[in-house]
Amino acid sequence: METNKNPQYILRYFDRIGVAEGSKLLLSAANVEWTEEHPEWPQEKPNQPFGRMPVLIEKHVDDTDFVICESGNIERYLARAYGFIPSDIRQAAFQEQLRDQASDMFAAFISQLVAKSEEDRRENFAKFDGLLDKLVEVQTKQINANGNNGHLFGDKLSYADIVTYAFYKIIVVGMVKRQANIVDIVKPKLTPQLIKLITAVEANPLLSSYMTRSDSVAAVVTKPTSARL
């Protein structure tokens, strides 16, 4: 499929699966020309608008650049620009709240990961665990209300599908090196509805080029657990 060559995008982030994942998925699904930059860090920190990443640069033929930061903001901008967020304000807000909740859950995951004392780690883990359980419950309820067709809303790949998938990818693929037991913790909590959504997102034609260079989340979450000997 011919990509839309104007505008072009640069996404600056670390070379890892992290909070920029949703943006990468949206750029891919939007079928625009985009590249990733992995600035030397922390040397390039002062050269970023807010000293942090991700950063999205939208380049135009007339050499004007539009630069924005903040992962959630970048996702919402791309999703609106390329039609993945509904134009209906209520529907849009309903999808956005799912992303914000997933982001809170991920922040809690990081808190328990970096906790110094065992007491803090246990307390933070309990918070992460609670947020994840609630998120799974709300997501599954919405998938069911939508007819369990592999989408949270409607029958096309949406912003909600993408960001929901992205946060599960960050945790069960991106974070495995930092916390080996995370798959064993998260996988049993995933409902069949969520596994169906994850599989459907990966199978969506809009993401076929993205999937040629990305690890599969579906492979991780559908892998049979070894039988206990």
Binding site: F50, G51, F66, I68, C69, E70, G72, N73, R76, Y77, R80, A81, I89, R90, A92, A93, F94, E96, Q97, D100, Q101, D104, A107, K116, S117, G130, K134, L135, V138
Partner: protein, 224 residues
């Protein structure tokens, strides 16, 4: 305005400034019909969609619609009541500022709860981020046609969000850290103080100050 005249809102939160001030200011500026509920906590936790607050309840034509997450609620109200630009790029610039401010709140709690050798590192990070935020506010203001508004010449989501942000740090967070108000005040430029006080004087926000104090008394002649 995309809200019917028979639409009423209920904002559920704790009886504190906290994370709901932006929502309160937006509902006030919009001249919406709204009330606040302070659910018994944690008794009412299980009755909230995500077991957290704030929650926005929108009632119209006998229907009830519920939204969670403070920033999602803010962006929704801003769009419904015309405080968010319809241009995607302009909206993204305002939302970015609000998201950066939210990061700063996280950094505040990070440095508050850090212990050992992480403590001074987190405090430095918080201070660096806060200084950068003030600089960013100043940069946006310097490009604005009006010194009373961040974007354009009317009250916008960004103005309300900025006001709520500084109110949080100057009026509220001292309940967690007694010296934070003074630390933050010392970082403010006269331009930012002027902006805060100008926003406060917006006629659309007047009803808000029948329920709480203005910040005007907190800034003395020395701050200008």
């Amino acid at each position: 305005m995309l809200s019917g005249s028979d639409t009423v809102y209920v904002l559920r939160y704790f009886d504190v400034i906290g994370r709901a001030e932006g929502c309160r200011l937006l509902l006030t500026a919009a001249n919406a019909s709204w009330t606040e509920e302070h659910p018994e906590w944690p008794a009412e936790k299980a009755n909230q969609p995500f077991e957290r607050l704030p929650v926005l309840v929108e009632r119209s034509n006998g229907n009830e619609w519920i939204l969670c997450e403070s920033l999602t609620i803010e962006r929704y109200l801003a769009r419904v009541f015309g405080f968010m630009p319809t241009d995607l790029k302009q909206a993204a610039l305002q939302e970015q500022m609000a998201d950066q401010q939210a990061d700063l709140l996280s950094a505040f709690f990070g440095q508050l709860t850090a212990t050992g050798d992480m403590k001074s590192k987190q405090i430095d990070e918080f201070n660096t981020l806060f200084d950068r935020m003030v600089k960013e506010h100043g940069r946006i203001l310097s490009r604005s046609s009006s010194k009373q508004h961040l974007f354009g010449d009317q009250l916008s989501y960004a103005d309300i969000s900025l006001y709520a942000f500084y109110k949080l740090f100057i009026v509220y967070l001292k309940c967690y850290q007694s010296d934070i108000a003074e630390i933050v005040k010392s970082k403010l430029t006269p331009e930012i103080i002027n902006l805060i006080l100008s926003i406060e004087k917006e006629p659309q926000l007047a009803p808000h100050f029948s329920k709480c104090d203005t910040m005007a008394a907190i800034f003395t002649a020395k701050d200008f």
